[in-house]
């Protein structure tokens, strides 16, 4: 136990220091003052190339749907330019990268013009299906999940007495926990089985992506579960499943609650109806804000070193980063649990019958 704690501590310090080197390399060599906000947003935003260290980045494919059809090229053609100066010509169309958003120049334009608020005036956004950093990270976590669970499934098939072995020893208690503590109490003994695959996928997918976000080096470190589009999609799936599994009782209790005076019914119905949409929105923002806040706290603490340029502050901020990282390990698991738990709760509410 003692050794384990020490190992974890050393590993966390390693992680924290690798963050430090990462931050120092993105610090510009010229005499510009250190911009904390830019550093933080660079790290939490999605991007068209994967920054590894220093000047080394992995280019990712840019896939666009324009008026002339599909256009693909590698993001390395932009040469790390995000101010719209480098123009990439492909298929007779011109593209620029403006703060990690791809814009298409209008016909005849040779450079991007900006208005007062720095919005481009002669460029439009095509439909962007690019494999960005977040999408890459999502594919990675899918592969890892498939590997883990195919291995686990195989170990059950091989064992004679149904005992788990290998990685299944790790996954079985978690799966049983989701079944016994999340699915059965919320959805009910009879109907929980239909929802188990979704709940398990949700839990492991969110958890793994959260963990990948905490590891500060390639090929992890992208802020996928702190991306509002990602969390919104997951919450939307929960919402759709809730709607499709809803029974008469659910709608009756939402729109015309039995046992209440009519004015009260008229008053409560719109509130309850809005609540139906607010639930998935709250799911979305809870996960998004928790994970993004975790990343921002770690990056802000690291930035303190560069703001004060002082060894004492540096040592202090590393200690704090280790402390926060240890808390984050707990938080990411709890957030995955809460997302799953609340989804199960909503399914349970939708499935309730008259009693």
């Amino acid at each position: 136990m003692q050794i384990n704690t020490l190992k974890t501590f050393l590993f966390s310090i390693l992680l924290a220091t690798s963050f430090l080197s990462y931050a120092s390399e993105s610090d510009p060599e010229n005499d510009k003052p250190f911009d904390t906000k830019e550093l933080i947003f660079h790290h939490i935003k999605d991007s068209h190339s994967f920054h590894v260290a220093g000047h080394l980045s992995i280019p990712l494919p840019v896939i666009l749907w324009t008026k002339n059809g599909l256009t693909t090229f590698m993001s390395s053609e932009f040469h790390h330019d995000v101010d719209g100066k480098t123009i990439v010509e492909n298929n007779g169309q011109k593209f620029v990268n403006l703060h990690e958003k791809i814009y298409q120049l209008e016909d005849g334009a040779t450079a991007v013009n900006f208005d007062k608020e720095h919005h481009p005036t002669n460029a439009v956004k095509p439909l962007d299906f690019s494999i960005t950093k977040n999408v890459f990270s999502m594919f990675l976590s899918m592969i890892v999940l498939l590997l883990i669970f195919f291995t686990a499934a195989k170990s059950y098939r091989k064992s004679a007495n149904g005992m788990p072995s290998g990685i299944a020893k790790f996954t079985e208690p978690i799966i049983l926990f989701i079944r016994d503590e999340v699915a059965i109490p919320n959805i009910g003994e009879k109907k929980y089985k239909k929802y188990m695959p979704f709940l398990l996928t949700l839990f492991f997918f969110i958890w793994l992506n959260n963990i990948f976000g905490l590891i500060p080096f390639f090929p992890f470190s992208s802020n996928l579960s702190g991306n509002i589009a990602f969390t919104l999609s997951l919450a939307a799936i929960t919402f759709v499943i809730t709607l499709f599994s809803s029974k008469k009782y659910y709608w009756k209790h939402m729109l015309w609650m039995p046992g209440l005076p009519v004015p009260m019914k008229l008053f409560l119905a719109p509130i309850e109806f809005m609540g139906m949409f607010i639930k998935p929105i709250a799911l979305t923002i809870r996960l998004f804000a928790n994970i993004t806040a975790g990343h921002i706290i770690v990056l802000s603490l690291i930035s303190l070193t560069f703001i004060f340029q002082n060894y004492v502050v540096g040592a202090g901020s590393v200690l704090f980063v280790v402390f926060i990282s240890v808390i984050e390990v707990l938080v990411v698991a709890i957030q995955a649990y809460i997302f799953t738990m609340l989804s199960a709760l909503y399914f349970g509410q939708a499935l309730e019958e008259e009693h």
Binding site: N290, A293, Q335, M341, L342
Partner: protein, 80 residues
């Protein structure tokens, strides 16, 4: 209308966003503290219920925390 107000706020009250984030943290702190205190008390009274109490306390804390984080997100948007 509200968007215009937000833009206006972003121009004039940027630093106030930090105060907003702080207030959100205060609210969250009070809520989490109350839940934590009550959960501890309940666990001390009935140690055999510890598992269940812990689970529901964590879920309740998540609700409170979400409200505090809404505040943080809004102040982030305002600060631009």
């Amino acid at each position: 209308m509200s968007l215009l107000l937000l833009q206006e706020a972003a121009m004039n009250f940027g630093p106030l966003a930090a105060i907003g984030a702080g207030l959100a943290a205060v609210g969250g702190g009070i809520g989490v503290g109350k839940i934590g205190g009550a959960a501890m008390e309940a666990m001390a009274r009935q140690p055999e219920m510890q598992g269940k109490l812990q689970g529901s306390a964590i879920v309740l804390i998540a609700f409170i925390e979400a409200v505090a984080l809404f505040g943080v997100v809004v102040s982030f948007l305002v600060a631009g």
